[in-house]
């Protein structure tokens, strides 16, 4: 099965080297060919399962809890300045 891998890696934001693309594309095609197996089944009247347990109405009270101190917030940041996470300039 052929897939448009360049569109997918753009959506998923993964830069692939040309040789990676050559390696991954047929593997993905093979897996997709395999999962097509599900099309054998008639699932018209079946409800989808999104959760493995049947819970509902799980809520918390609107009560304050401790936030992290700013040093801890920024401790793992690749780059920060003046209390902000720094990223390459956002242009739209």
């Amino acid at each position: 099965m052929e897939i448009d891998i360049s569109r997918l890696v753009k959506l998923a934001r993964i830069e692939l080297k040309p040789e990676e693309e050559l390696r991954l594309a047929p593997q993905l095609g093979e897996v997709l060919g395999y999962v097509d197996k599900l099309k054998e089944l008639n699932v018209d009247d079946v409800e989808p399962t999104a959760h493995a347990s049947p819970l509902s109405n799980v809520l918390r009270k609107d009560e304050l809890a401790d936030s992290l101190c700013r040093d801890d917030v920024l401790r793992n940041a690749p780059e920060s300045s003046n209390g902000l996470f720094v990223v390459p300039k956002i242009v739209e």
Binding site: N57, L68, G83, L84
Partner: protein, 474 residues
């Protein structure tokens, strides 16, 4: 050819919960950057969301205020897109089973009452805030995870003015329900506009254009006006419109294309596996229903008929609900409700602005305003003295009667004393007396003023008028 506008609005409103949507960090504007954040709202590896009950409650309440129904089942979905201010790079929102659906808003516009249908009001999470510098951008995640209500209208709006009126009415309703502070400057209300244009004779909708980046209601009005003109011009020139997203440039007053349908996002929505669905119970819903308040438009109509106040006054009270509440307390048992309304709007409001205080900070009760009006009505004090009493009341919080007594400001209506004042003035101003006797009516006003002056404003003006005429004729 004549063209017609079809507009739908998507308004994002921050709910004024104490904490964020999925964690216990403060939902607070203006803190130092990245101080109201924790592993959950920062999207650190391994964290999970847990839904804030108050956010859900305020969503349902808003639904009721917008005449929506609250379905028996709601769930959360992931909307996938990368952006530096989006901590998980998916936003939790409600796609196909939102918390409230199918409502409407009635509001005044274009000289009448119009109705806009609400498709849904669903709950989602806000993202962080970006700041742009010369060669980099910086992100503050304090806002990330703040509960955000997205209120989506049907395409029932057909002019810039109507959109503007809808937004003001919506803001007013949300403030009434105390679900949001609706401060646009703090980014608590944001709105995207979907607009299309078609020849009046055509039933098929034109290509939908989304406009983003307006930061005020008037900006939205201008953007719609501009966009209508632009689209009509394209059509008139025989051009075609494309489905696209455009950005409003407020300084230049124009819109620019951001992206067309071809490079539109593919959000890959799917049900969030970390959050369980919500099935509101009848008890929960009826408790929320009890919190439903009178809507602004209903209130206006009621105030006009119940208190016989003019529309302009009712408008002020609807726009300023606290002032309206104050009026409704002050007017209790007072005959001249118009006068109470005037006092509250003209004097009290001005004084509040001047002194920078709020209604909560007042040291006298609303009944004191009613009392003041009654004192003027009964002739106990003049309007002018009333002003002085009011100023004193504002300062000290003492009741009007108390002030009048302690300062001896009661109006003098005693004929003997008034005659004595008049005598003194007649003697001191022979020229004016002559003028009046020669038929110059204006001279009497001067003499009256002199009497008021020496009585320090307390003389009953009507009686002074009568007495002077009587004495000068003799």
């Amino acid at each position: 050819m004549e063209y017609e506008l079809v507009i739908g609005l998507e308004t994002h409103v921050q709910l004024n919960t104490c904490t964020k949507m999925w964690c216990g960090c403060a939902n607070e504007y203006g803190s130092d950057s990245n101080t109201n954040v924790c592993p959950v709202c920062l999207g650190l590896p391994g964290v999970l969301p847990v839904l804030n009950e108050a956010a859900l409650r305020k969503t349902a309440l808003t639904g009721f205020l917008l005449n929506c129904s609250v379905p028996g089942y709601a769930k959360w979905d992931r909307k996938n897109y990368f952006y530096p201010d989006n901590p998980k790079n998916y936003q939790l929102t409600q796609l196909d089973f939102p918390s409230t659906v199918d409502g409407y808003v009635n509001f005044e516009s274009l000289g009448g009452i119009v109705k806009v249908r609400i498709n849904r009001a669903h709950l989602e999470e806000d993202v962080g805030k970006s700041f742009h510098f010369a060669d980099y951008s910086g992100i503050d995640f304090n806002r990330a995870g703040v509960p955000l209500l997205e209120i989506v209208t049907e395409p029932d709006i057909n002019s810039a003015e109507m959109a503007y009126d809808y937004l003001n009415a919506l803001k007013n309703i949300l403030e009434y329900g105390a679900v949001s502070d609706c401060d646009m400057e703090k980014g608590q209300v944001r709105c995207d506009v979907n607009i299309s244009v078609r020849p009046k004779s055509q039933s098929k909708l034109g290509e939908k254009v989304e406009i983003k980046n307006m930061n005020s209601f008037s900006g939205i009005r201008r953007a719609i006006t501009y966009e209508f003109k632009r689209q009509v011009e394209v059509l008139e020139k025989g051009g075609t419109l494309v489905q696209e997203t455009r950005r409003w440039d407020d300084d230049a007053g124009v819109t620019d294309s951001m992206r067309t349908k071809e490079d539109a996002h593919d959000y890959r929505y799917f049900p969030d596996p970390d959050l369980m669905p919500y099935r509101p119970s009848d008890e929960w819903l009826s408790a929320i229903r009890e919190g439903v308040v009178e809507l602004p438009l209903d209130r206006k109509m009621r105030m006009m008929s119940q208190h016989k106040i003019p529309q302009e006054s009712a408008d002020v009270f609807v726009r300023e609900p606290l002032l309206g509440d104050y009026f409704e307390q002050a007017v209790k048992g007072v005959k001249n409700s118009r006068s109470v309304a005037n006092w509250v709007i003209n004097n009290l409001q001005a004084k509040l602005v001047e002194s920078g205080t709020t209604i909560d900070g007042l040291t006298f009760s609303p009944a004191a305003i009613g009392e003041l009006v009654e004192l003027v009505e009964s002739g106990k004090i003049s309007g002018k003295i009333a002003q002085e009493v009011f100023n004193e009341m504002f300062k000290s919080g003492v009741s009007p009667l108390g002030i009048i007594e302690s300062k001896g400001l009661s109006q003098v209506s005693d004929t003997v004393q008034l005659k004595a004042f008049c005598e003194e003035v007649i003697v001191a101003n022979p020229a004016s007396v002559d003028d009046f006797r020669d038929g110059k009516e204006a001279a009497l006003n001067f003499l009256k003023g002199q009497v008021m002056k020496i009585s320090r404003g307390k003389a009953n003006p009507k009686m002074v008028d009568d007495l002077l005429r009587e004495m000068l004729v003799d």
